[in-house]
C-alpha cells in the first residue's frame, strides 16, 4: 500500500503551517522528514495518520492494505504513549482486544512482537519499571502487533540518549531487513535520517514546503558510520538545513 499526499496546505489560525505538500510514500520504504523546528512535520504526520484534517489537499491510500493488517496507519509517538496502569503485555494486548483477538491467538502475537523487540523478559513489568529505550521498544512492539502497512514515527528516538538511540536504530534496521515495512520517520537528527531513510524529504522553514528530496541508494543494512556516500548525503542535508535555519533567523530580525 502506497500513500500519496496531494497538495496539502494548512493554517492554524493565521499562521500558515504547511503549503502545497505533494509526496509519494512507496510501500516498503522508509521516508524521513527533516526540517527546522516548527515547520509542521508533526502536523503533516497527523494528517497522514488521520488524526487531523488539512485545510486543503488530500491524503490518499493507493491499493489495499496487506492481508492480516489490523491498523494500516500506525503511530509510534515521541513520548511513547504507554498506558502506565498496564503491563508491557497489557499495553500490546490493548490494541489487539478491539479487533477481537484474545486468548491464545493474542498471546502468540504478543510473544512474537516482544521477542522481536527483545522484551520477552519484561512482559509483566509496568512502564514505570522500564528505561526510556525499553519504553520505546514497547511502543514499537505495540505498533508491530497490529501489522501496520505504514508506520508513522514522530521523533521516536529523540527522548533517548545517544547510545540507546544507536542500539534502537540497529533494531529498526534489523526489523526492516527481516521484513521491510513502510514508514514515515520524522526526525531532527540527520544521522538518523541518513541511517534509516531511503528517501529524505527536507522541509523548508514555516510555512513548510518541500525544499529538496534526497535519495540514498545504499541498502540500509549496508550503511556504516563513516561510509563516504552516506557522509556526502549527510553533509548535503546539513548544508540545506543550515540555510533554512539561517533564513529563519533572518526572518525574525526582519519582522
Amino acid at each position: 500500500m502506497d500513500i500519496r499526499l496531494d497538495s496539502i496546505s494548512h493554517k492554524y489560525g493565521d499562521t500558515d503551517v504547511l503549503r502545497d505538500i505533494s509526496l509519494e510514500i512507496p510501500a516498503g520504504q522508509i521516508v524521513c522528514l527533516v526540517g527546522p523546528s516548527g515547520c509542521g512535520k508533526s502536523t503533516l504526520l497527523r494528517f497522514i495518520g488521520g488524526l487531523e484534517r488539512p485545510d486543503s489537499g488530500r491524503v490518499l491510500q493507493l491499493g489495499a492494505a496487506p492481508e492480516g493488517c489490523l491498523n494500516p496507519l500506525t503511530f509510534v509517538f515521541q513520548d511513547f504513549a504507554l498506558l502506565p496502569w498496564r503491563t508491557v503485555k497489557g499495553n500490546v494486548s490493548l490494541v489487539l482486544e478491539d479487533h477481537g483477538i484474545r486468548g491464545a491467538k493474542a498471546r502468540a502475537i504478543i510473544d512474537d512482537v516482544l521477542t522481536r523487540t527483545k522484551l520477552s523478559d519484561f512482559a509483566d513489568a509496568l512502564p514505570k519499571q522500564l528505561s526510556g529505550g525499553m519504553k520505546q521498544r514497547v511502543a514499537i512492539a505495540r505498533a508491530l502487533a497490529v501489522k501496520p502497512a505504514v508506520m508513522l514515527m514522530d521523533e521516536p528516538l529523540s527522548a533517548l540518549d545517544s547510545q540507546t538511540r544507536e542500539l534502537l536504530m540497529d533494531d529498526l534496521v534489523s526489523l526492516w531487513t527481516r521484513q521491510p515495512f513502510t514508514a514515515v520517520y520524522v526526525t531532527h537528527n540527520l544521522s538518523e535520517a541518513v541511517r534509516l531513510g531511503h528517501t529524505i524529504v527536507v522541509l523548508s522553514r514555516r510555512p513548510g514546503q518541500i525544499r529538496e528530496i534526497v535519495t540514498i541508494d545504499t541498502p540500509i543494512q549496508d550503511r556504516r558510520p563513516g561510509d563516504p556516500v552516506c557522509q556526502k548525503k549527510h553533509d548535503l542535508l546539513w548544508e540545506l538545513m543550515r540555510e533554512e535555519a539561517r533564513a529563519a533567523d533572518g526572518e525574525l530580525i526582519d519582522v
Binding site: W85, L126, K128
Partner: protein, 274 residues
C-alpha cells in the same frame, strides 16, 4: 587560587559533605503513627479526667465510654443501631457516588453535558443539604426514602466535581494513541479515560463518603427510631455524655474504616503510579 582558598579561613580545604536536601513529598505507609496519635490523646484525657482537672461535665472518662460501648455490645443494642445506619450509608452513598461518577464522566466527555450541567452542579453544591431534609421528607416519605435521598444527594455533588476534574486531567496524548490504533469510543473511555481518571475519582470519594457520614447522622436525628444518629440525639437530650461519646466513637470508627478501605483500593488500583 590558593589565595582565595586560604582567605576564607583555615577549614575551607576540608572536604564538606554535600548537605542532603532531597527526600520527602513521597508519603509512605506508616500506620502505627496514626494509631499512636489516638492512643496518646486518649491516655491524656483519661489522665485528665481521673485526676480531676478535666471536670466530668466537660468530657467523660474514656474508660466509662468504653464501658458504655461494652454494654451496647452485650445488650445487642449496638447492632440494632448500627445495622440501619450502615444500610442507609451504603445505599445512599452508593446511589450518590455511582450517579456522581456517571454524570461527572459525561461532563468530562461531552461539551453539551458540560455546558448544561456544570452551572447546575455549581448551583446545588453550596446548598446545605440538611436544609433540604424537610423537602425530602415530603418527596420521599419520612421513612428510609428521605434518608437515602439526603445521603445520595450530599455525596453526588462532590463526586461529580471530582470526577469531571479527573477526566479533564487524563493525558490527551493517551487518548490520541487510542484513536490512532482504531480503538472504539467505548474502549477509549473504558480502558484509557476511566483508569486515568481513577486517582482523582478515588480522592473525591474520600471527601464524599465523609460527607455521607455527616449527613447520615443529620438524617437520623429527624425521625429515626434506631441508628447511630438517633442514639446520639437521645443521649444528647439526656445530657448523657458517656453515651454521646460512645456514639461519636462509633462514627469516628466508621470514618476510619471508610478511609482505610479507600486507601486499600488506592493501593490495589493505583500501584502503577510512580
Amino acid at each position: 587560587m590558593s589565595e582565595i582558598g586560604s582567605s576564607n579561613g583555615a577549614d575551607t580545604d576540608q572536604p564538606i559533605e554535600v548537605r542532603f536536601r532531597g527526600g520527602g513529598f513521597a508519603p509512605k505507609s506508616r500506620r502505627w503513627v496514626g494509631f499512636a496519635v489516638f492512643v496518646i490523646l486518649i491516655v491524656f484525657v483519661q489522665w485528665g479526667t481521673q485526676s480531676g482537672w478535666i471536670s466530668p461535665l466537660t468530657l467523660p472518662k474514656p474508660s466509662d465510654v468504653l464501658a458504655t460501648l461494652g454494654q451496647l455490645w452485650e445488650s445487642g443494642l449496638l447492632f440494632k443501631h448500627l445495622e440501619p445506619s450502615l444500610r442507609r450509608l451504603v445505599v445512599g452513598a452508593a446511589i450518590g457516588s455511582v450517579t456522581g461518577i456517571a454524570i461527572g464522566v459525561l461532563i468530562g466527555l461531552f461539551s453539551i453535558a458540560r455546558a448544561g450541567l456544570v452551572p447546575l452542579v455549581a448551583a446545588i453544591f453550596p446548598i446545605p443539604k440538611i436544609a433540604l431534609l424537610p423537602l425530602f421528607v415530603i418527596w420521599f416519605g419520612i421513612d428510609e426514602g428521605s434518608k437515602y435521598a439526603l445521603i445520595a444527594f450530599g455525596t453526588f455533588t462532590p463526586t461529580v466535581v471530582a470526577t469531571y476534574g479527573a477526566v479533564d486531567n487524563v493525558d490527551r496524548s493517551l487518548v490520541r494513541m487510542g484513536q490512532s490504533f482504531g480503538l472504539s469510543w467505548f474502549s477509549i473511555v473504558r480502558k484509557i479515560v476511566l483508569p486515568g481518571a481513577m486517582p482523582g475519582i478515588l480522592s473525591g470519594l474520600r471527601i464524599s463518603l465523609a460527607i455521607a457520614i455527616i449527613l447520615l447522622v443529620a438524617a437520623e436525628m429527624l425521625g429515626a427510631e434506631y441508628g447511630i444518629g438517633a442514639y446520639i440525639l437521645e443521649a444528647g437530650a439526656l445530657y448523657d455524655l458517656e453515651r454521646l461519646f460512645a456514639g461519636v466513637v462509633i462514627l469516628s470508627l466508621l470514618g476510619v474504616i471508610v478511609s482505610a478501605s479507600i486507601g486499600f483500593f488506592e493501593r490495589r488500583l493505583l500501584g502503577w503510579r510512580t
